[in-house]
Every structure is written in structure tokens, then in C-alpha cells.
């Protein structure tokens, strides 16, 4: 297993290099001179040339990229072109907010979505089932920014129960986590229900019933663990998509996280920040997926790490 983990981590490095190379290449191929953008329209030609040299923009793209990656591997993510802050330091400052938001959203979604999905499956075609499915479709169809805006309007501005924006206390995170988790809740619920329905039709469930196991025991002892296999994978995918969704949620609730950093960087084409964010997310997602696969192997004895 140790060898497997090492192999996966090595693979992750290649994935990160591949994706960053792709983005770096299209970033540099895009029209417009970043130096001009940074210095503004009234900058002199010499100033621009000097800045270009300073940023390494005068070298061929591939060399630029190799230099960049070399620095990243040493932990140097460069500085923001626009505001001059150290990208790595800024990440460290904002990271806890994004991770807290994502984790809370996942907890909310998993703790509510999986049990609801199980109940919906074993009470298939009942009121509970229909209501859960309706809830899932609604949550899945609501754009997060709208859901966020409306709940902000209602719970913060009208009722005044919760703070509308910013960070600081746990209360600050409640609405953002609900907003971010709504979509995940929907997919967890549906995945669990589908998987449970599928497992319940399997022959080994019939065997368990034929042994004289009660319905409750059949579900808890025989169906649950099997039905969790695809759900676990889904949790990994959802955690990753939370990283994407947090961009929107952070913007609605003015949370100083990685997402809001990225939005400004994208608008101003602040390449070191965009690249840094992508690398961070890719590594984070890669590690989550690795953990999910390890968990999967723990649940399913058929999975072995020998390849």
C-alpha cells in the first residue's frame, strides 16, 4: 500500500505539471502584454521593457514555465503582479477560510444526504422518497449564487439571525456552508438512493433474506456497506467540486478565501495568482482522491493495490 501511495503522489506531480503547462501556454499565448497591463497605459517603453525583464517575460515561454515550476517546487509561488503580495503567504492566510467552508459544506451534505438517500431507497415510492427526490432536484437546480443571495436577504437582512458577510465566528459560516453544500447534498442523496436501490436488487440480498434476516438487518448489515462504495467516490468528487463552488460562495458572502482571490486574479490576468490557485486546487483534489481510494479499498475487500 505504501508503494501505491508513493506511486499515486508521483502521478499527481505529473498531473499538476501537465495542467499548469496547459494553462501557462494559453495564458502566454493570449493577446496583450502583462507588463503593459500592470503599469497602465501611460508607462514608458523603457519601464515596460524593464518590467518584462524583471518578470522574465522576455524569455521563451517554455523557459519561463520551467523557471516558474522550478521555483514552485522550492515553495516560491512568486508575487502578485497586481498588488505585489507574496502568493504563498496570501494563500496561507486565506486557506483556512476556504477549507473550513468546504469541509462544513461537505459535512452538512454528507450527514443529511446519505441518511435521506438510504431512507428514500428503502421506502421507495413513498412520500419520503418523493419529497427527498423533489428536494434533491430543487437543490440541484438552484444556482448557488442565487440561493446564497436569497438566503442572505432573508436570514441576514430581513430576520437578522446571521451575519451577512465576512468571517470570524462559526455563525459566519452557516449560510455559506448551506449554500455551497446544497448542490452536494442533492448529489449525495441521489447517489445513495440509486446505489442502495441497486444493491437491494442483488442476489446476495435475497440470500440474506432467505437466511431469515429482518429487513432492518438486511439494510444495515448487508446492503449499507455495499451501497456506500459508489457514494464514497462521489464524496471525493463532491469535495473537489466544492473547491470550485467556493469561488461563487466566497464572492456572495465576501469571504476572504482562495476563491475570491482567484476572481480578481482572473479579471486582471494576474498570472502568478491564477497559476498558484490552480496548482493548489489540483494538489488538494489529488490528495482527496487518493484518500477516497484508500477508503474505498478499506470498504471493499476485492480492491487490492497490486497493479
Amino acid at each position: 500500500m505504501f508503494k501505491y501511495v508513493i506511486k499515486r503522489l508521483l502521478l499527481l506531480i505529473f498531473v499538476v505539471i501537465g495542467i499548469t503547462l496547459f494553462i501557462y501556454l494559453i495564458l502566454s499565448a493570449a493577446p496583450g502584454d502583462p507588463a503593459q497591463l500592470i503599469l497602465g497605459m501611460d508607462a514608458t517603453a523603457e519601464d515596460i521593457a524593464a518590467l518584462r525583464a524583471q518578470l522574465g517575460l522576455d524569455k521563451p515561454v517554455l523557459i519561463q514555465y520551467i523557471n516558474y515550476i522550478g521555483k514552485v517546487l522550492k515553495g516560491d509561488f512568486g508575487t502578485s503582479w497586481l498588488s505585489g503580495y507574496n502568493v504563498y503567504q496570501e494563500f496561507l492566510r486565506r486557506l483556512p477560510n476556504t477549507i473550513a467552508l468546504g469541509t462544513l459544506a461537505m459535512m452538512f451534505a454528507v450527514l443529511l444526504g446519505i441518511p435521506l438517500g438510504i431512507v428514500a431507497a428503502i421506502r421507495q415510492n413513498s412520500i419520503v422518497d418523493y419529497l427527498s427526490l423533489a428536494l434533491a432536484v430543487i437543490l440541484f437546480s438552484l444556482p448557488a449564487f442565487w440561493f446564497g443571495l436569497i438566503s442572505q436577504l432573508f436570514f441576514c437582512l430581513r430576520l437578522g439571525w446571521l451575519p451577512a458577510s465576512g468571517v470570524g465566528t462559526f455563525k459566519h459560516f452557516i449560510l455559506p456552508a448551506l449554500t455551497l453544500g446544497a448542490n452536494v447534498l442533492a448529489s449525495q442523496l441521489r447517489m445513495t438512493r440509486t446505489s442502495m436501490l441497486d444493491v437491494i436488487k442483488q442476489d446476495y440480498i435475497r440470500t440474506a433474506r432467505a437466511k431469515g434476516a429482518s429487513e432492518r438487518r438486511v439494510v444495515l448489515k448487508h446492503a449499507l456497506r455495499n451501497s456506500m462504495l459508489p457514494v464514497v467516490t462521489q464524496v471525493g468528487i463532491s469535495y473537489a467540486s466544492c473547491m470550485g463552488g467556493s469561488v461563487v460562495t466566497e464572492s456572495v458572502f465576501s469571504i476572504p478565501g482562495i476563491g475570491s482571490l482567484l476572481i480578481n486574479a482572473v479579471k486582471s490576468r494576474d498570472i502568478p495568482v491564477v497559476m498558484g490557485t490552480i496548482i493548489f486546487v489540483a494538489v488538494f483534489v489529488g490528495i482527496i482522491n487518493l484518500l477516497v481510494d484508500l477508503l474505498y479499498a478499506y470498504i471493499d475487500p476485492r480492491v487490492k493495490f497490486a497493479e
Binding site: 498531473v15 432536484v137 438552484l142 444556482p143
Partner: protein
């Protein structure tokens, strides 16, 4: 008593799709979704016939913040523009860019996934490793990165979103084809000397289409949301061109006092996405009836 399960196979196309349509029709939610979607599509498509584009852009400050009424069905915004006209024209972008994104990534996914699944081996390895790479980043972040590189604009956003969705389609098409590749009717086709292209396009793709179609529909919903999200974040369609997300981003400062400004455009997105999702669910149940009962 074993129920007969047929697996696509050599059944003639018409009867299979006839059966799918028969089952789909029985699903009330899916049919409701279909009608709502057709209604919205027609409403926005035919917009020039009943709404003057001038109403979308012409500002009339004296007329601002009018609540919904007989002349301005959805009220007016902070510049006195008619919200109904903006929403209707905005839908053209939200929905049709969404469709275009889906079509682009669908075609690209079918080609890449078809090649990977059919040839296997090195081709498969190379394509799938690249797909893995792109899948390492959530779709919306990848789109944002591409937008950062290409710059703002509807066309560029379209490409950015399509790039982000293609890996998913590639994966689904490939796994679908992998499942079919070794089945007897493909062997049979190879035996009487069909060419690779013919086998991919005449045999594998049509038979493996079920899951792909379902996922296409469900992805359309997410793409519509993503377009609106980018618009809302100010990196999608640039104002004053109306788009559901952009409209919300412009009016969000005022929804505290004029909630209809926020409720209406958002509801349009939610309604369209919901309709699409119901259709997708209906298709899934119709294509795979084993999931029901």
C-alpha cells in the same frame, strides 16, 4: 421467473427509441420539464417578434425601480430598463450558449472517447491521461483559468466552458464503449470486415449512447448554471449585454429593497435547469427501466 433483459444489440433503432419515448411519456415530471423547456426556448427564441431590443438597453432613469406591473411585467431595474425584456433576451444567451457548449463538448467527447475506447492500448492511455489531467481541476475553475487566458467575451467563454466539459464526456463515452467493445455483435461486425470507423460510428456509438445522452442532459443544467455563475462573478458575458447571471450581478446591490430584481432572473435560471434535469431523469428511467420499481 426471469425477466428478459435485452442489451441494445441488434434490435432495430426505431423500436428501441419508440420504447424509450413510450416510457418517457409516462413520466409526468419529465413531460412537464419538456413542455416548460420548449416554452422557455420558444419564448426566448422568438423574443425579437414581441420585444423591441431597444427596451433591453435604453435607460430611463425616471422609470427606475418600478415593481412588476401591467406595462413592465417583471418591473424595471436601477436604470429604468424593462426587466422582462432583459430576462427574455438574456435567456437567449444563457440557453443557447449552454446548448452550444454541450454540443461542442459532446462532439469532442465522442471523438476522443470513441478513439480511446475502440483502440485501447497506447491511444487510450494517452487520451485518458490527458483527461485525468483536466479532471483534476473542477470544471468552473478550469473555465475561469481559460477565461483568464483568453479574455472576456461570449465566444471565449463558450470555448472555456466546452474545454472544461469535454473530459467528462470523453470518460463516459469511453467507458460506455469499453463495455460494448467485446460483445458478440461487435465481433460479428469485425468478422464481416467492417472498417474501424464504421464499427465506431454505426455500432458502438449508437448502442453506447444511453448513458451519454442522460449525462448530456444533466450536464446541460450544470452548464447553464456555470454560465450564469461566470456572468455573476463578472467574468462571463460583459454588460450591458443581458444574461441571467449578469443581470443578477448588476441588480444584486438593490435586491435588499427591490427583491423582485433578484428573484425573477434567478427563478428563470432555476426553472430552466429544473426542466432540463427532469428531462434528464426521465430519459434515464426510460433508457434503463431496471432502475424503476
Amino acid at each position: 421467473m426471469k425477466k428478459r433483459r435485452k442489451n441494445g444489440g441488434a434490435v432495430s433503432g426505431r423500436s428501441v427509441w419508440g420504447l424509450v419515448w413510450f416510457r418517457f411519456k409516462k413520466n409526468k415530471l419529465a413531460m412537464a420539464g419538456l413542455f416548460v423547456l420548449i416554452f422557455i426556448m420558444l419564448a426566448v427564441l422568438l423574443a425579437p417578434l414581441y420585444v423591441d431590443y431597444q427596451a433591453v438597453v435604453s435607460q430611463k432613469i425616471t422609470n427606475r425601480f418600478k415593481a412588476p406591473n401591467a406595462t413592465n411585467w417583471f418591473g424595471t431595474d436601477q436604470f429604468g430598463r424593462d426587466l422582462f425584456a432583459r430576462v427574455v433576451y438574456g435567456g437567449r444567451i444563457s440557453l443557447f450558449v449552454g446548448l452550444a457548449v454541450i454540443m461542442l463538448s459532446f462532439v469532442a467527447g465522442c471523438i476522443l472517447g470513441g478513439l480511446a475506447g475502440y483502440f485501447g492500448g497506447v491511444v487510450d492511455q494517452v487520451i485518458m491521461r490527458i483527461v485525468d489531467m483536466f479532471m483534476a481541476i473542477p470544471a468552473i475553475l478550469l473555465s475561469m483559468a481559460v477565461v483568464a487566458a483568453l479574455g472576456n467575451g461570449t465566444g471565449k467563454m463558450l470555448i472555456a466552458l466546452a474545454v472544461a466539459q469535454t473530459p467528462r464526456f470523453t470518460r463516459i463515452v469511453r467507458s460506455s464503449i469499453m463495455g460494448l467493445r467485446n460483445q458478440e455483435f461487435i465481433e460479428a461486425a469485425k468478422c464481416y470486415g467492417s472498417s474501424s470507423a464504421r464499427i465506431i460510428f454505426k455500432h458502438l456509438l449508437p448502442n453506447g449512447m444511453g448513458p451519454v445522452i442522460v449525462s448530456t442532459t444533466l450536464t446541460l443544467g450544470q452548464v447553464i448554471i456555470n454560465i450564469a455563475s461566470l456572468g455573476f462573478l463578472g467574468i462571463g458575458v460583459a454588460s450591458p449585454t443581458p444574461e441571467w447571471g449578469t443581470i443578477l450581478s448588476e441588480t444584486k446591490a438593490f435586491i435588499r429593497y427591490y427583491p423582485y430584481l433578484g428573484l425573477i432572473p434567478g427563478a428563470c435560471i432555476a426553472l430552466s435547469v429544473m426542466a432540463v434535469n427532469f428531462i434528464g431523469d426521465g430519459l434515464r428511467d426510460a433508457l434503463d427501466p431496471r432502475m424503476k420499481n
